[in-house]
Amino acid sequence: MALDKEDVVKIAHLARLQVADSEIDATTERLSSILGMIEQLQAAPTDGIEPMAHPTDAVQRLREDVVTESNHRDQYQSIAPATEDGLYLVPQVIE
């Protein structure tokens, strides 16, 4: 299926990706070509076929509800772009 420019702008917003205005046309064309290839799926008869999420159809293992991790906050925050007093900093959200 072919996308139009508005579709691409909306998808980019949903994915929180900045796409420059100058790239919208080329992006629209390439995404449409990929979706055109994907369209072949629609012809496949899949009535009564169970969707497959995992190759060996395994389910999640359960474990005891106990603490397994120690505190790594300082170590993990040492590679963050901006922190203060153990918190991650982002631009102000609430006035």
Binding site: L14, R16, L17, V19, S33, A44, I79, Y88
Partner: protein, 484 residues
């Protein structure tokens, strides 16, 4: 020394013919001398490597060496390495120093292996030519104007150029096997769940699987002995026993039933590649195998199904890269949305953005059933085809890739034509089966690989079948003249 297999180096270390420090220095020197021509490394960890080598020599002197102790290896830059840059070949992670080791890295280190560095790859493992790397493309050591394949192109090129005896790779749609084929080395994608994914930066979690890239099947078996196994930290890792993969390498192949899927030998397959694969299969007949024609009728649907499932999972997995906790952050964000959008827009490359958008679209309201659910149903059809085939055969053989290495830039402008280079490998990931690519011949001076696909957790048989061929033929021992 560098042309030796990992097995031979392991034996030389055990016999005291060479020390790990000598061996490590030799490969570090080779990387310095030859890597500028192939660009297979993103980071070389010289200091750490020499320290690990010293520790390995001490461990051996103390009498508690394992078979791999002191042998150098390189890790694909998708595996987290504590204290060492782990970039996934993306600007997004150019400043990311991993705070912990991936389980695979930890297991290799526990075995006493020496990490030479981190290898180049397609950005976030999305690509089949290694051209999407933020650090520039890897060149095929056989002909440097050709691609090495991808996404584990750095690992494949480094082993082919003998800059490391072995490397790790990951395979989501062919990313171990296709570059192994294009660079003339041996690459094994294990069964989904056989090797821990913990600390391996996720692309498509239901498809990703790490594995060894080596000169020979015997070397891959040695690495698998240390790499495979249950990991409680990976919720999709499978808790079944790990066999000694070296134990059955030399089993005779009398009576082996080889399935030849008609769909792997039809249009789209390069004539030279087809001829090389047929000759390899003839060799197997000489070794006592019988050939069985089989059908994998949904092969043509594996690429469209993959390009829904993998991007959908990627769009979810890559949402963690938001410019807040680690990785790239844009300059002077106006507000939080601007921070997200510009950090991601500037930090990700074109192909990664394309796949995130395809995945976002496929999962968006109103399209889920038509795309994601449909693709998951087709995925089961693909798996059912293999289950049916394995009722009558022991392994399946065919080409790994439809062509030998294409030229740099040749397919860069057309994503769909690039995607088709994984036509024979993707269905194996969709089913979760193990597959191996081994060198089987040449086409115009470039290597061609034979792919062998096995049943679930039948890696021992794959390695046995590959090893027997390598005992009779010399393709795996060839190396490009410029790197001799």
């Amino acid at each position: 020394m560098h042309s030796q297999t990992l097995k031979a180096l392991s034996d030389a270390l055990a016999a005291g013919d060479v020390s790990s420090q000598e061996l490590t220095q030799h490969f570090l020197d080779r990387i310095k001398q030859h890597d500028p021509a192939v660009n297979s490394f993103i980071t070389v960890t010289e200091e750490q490597a020499l320290a690990q080598a010293k520790a390995a020599d001490q461990r051996r002197a103390a009498g508690n060496a394992a078979p791999l102790t002191g042998v150098p290896i390189a890790h694909k830059d998708i595996f987290c390495t504590q204290g060492i840059k782990t970039s996934c070949a993306s600007k997004m992670l150019d400043n990311f120093i991993a705070p912990y080791n991936a389980t695979v890295v930890e297991k290799m280190a526990d075995a006493g292996m020496v990490t030479l560095g981190k290898t180049n790859m397609d950005e976030f493992a999305m690509g089949s030519s290694n051209e999407t790397s933020y650090y520039g493309p890897v060149k095929n050591p056989w002909q440097t104007e050709h691609v090495p394949g991808g996404s584990s192109g750095g690992s494949a090129a480094a082993v082919a150029a003998r800059l490391t005896p072995a490397a790790t790779g990951t395979d989501t749609g062919g990313s171990i096997r296709q570059p192994a084929s294009l660079c003339g080395i041996t690459g094994l994608k294990p069964t989904y769940g056989r090797v821990s994914r913990w600390g391996m930066i996720a692309f498509a979690s239901s498809l990703d699987q790490g594995g060894p890239m080596t000169q020979t099947a015997e070397d891959a078996a040695l690495l698998m002995n240390a790499m495979a196994g249950f990991d409680p930290k990976d919720s999709t890792s499978t808790d079944i026993e790990v066999p000694d993969y070296t134990a059955s390498l030399t089993q005779p192949l009398d009576g082996l039933r080889i399935g030849l899927p008609r769909q792997f030998f039809e249009q789209g397959l390069d004539a030279d590649v087809g001829k090389v694969v047929q000759e390899a299969i003839a060799q197997y007949e000489k070794l006592g195998a019988t050939l069985v024609d089989i059908e994998l009728p949904n092969t043509h649907l594996s690429i469209p199904a993959y390009y829904v499932v993998a991007p959908a999972e990627a769009s979810s997995n890559l949402s963690r890269f938001d410019g807040v906790r680690f990785g790239y952050r844009c300059k002077d964000p106006a507000d939080l949305e601007d921070l997200y959008k510009r950090s991601r827009g500037e930090g990700f490359g074109e192909e990664v953005k394309r796949r995130i958008m395809i995945g976002t679209y496929a999962l968006s309201a109103g399209y889920y059933d038509a795309y994601y659910l449909k693709a998951q149903k087709v995925r089961r059809l693909i798996k059912n085809d293999f289950d049916e085939a394995f009722n009558n055969v022991d392994v399946i053989m065919g080409p790994t890739a439809p062509n030998a290495g294409f030229k740099l830039g040749e397919k860069a402008a057309d994503p769909v034509s690039m995607y088709l280079s994984d036509i024979y490998t993707i269905s194996v990931n969709m089913a979760g089966l193990p597959g191996i690519s081994i060198p089987a011949g040449m086409s115009n001076g470039l290597p061609v690989g034979l792919q062998i696909i096995g049943n679930y957790f039948d890696e021992s048989r794959l390695l046995n079948v590959a090893h027997r061929y390598q005992q009779e033929t010399g393709w795996h021992a060839q190396l490009p003249a410029a790197f001799a």
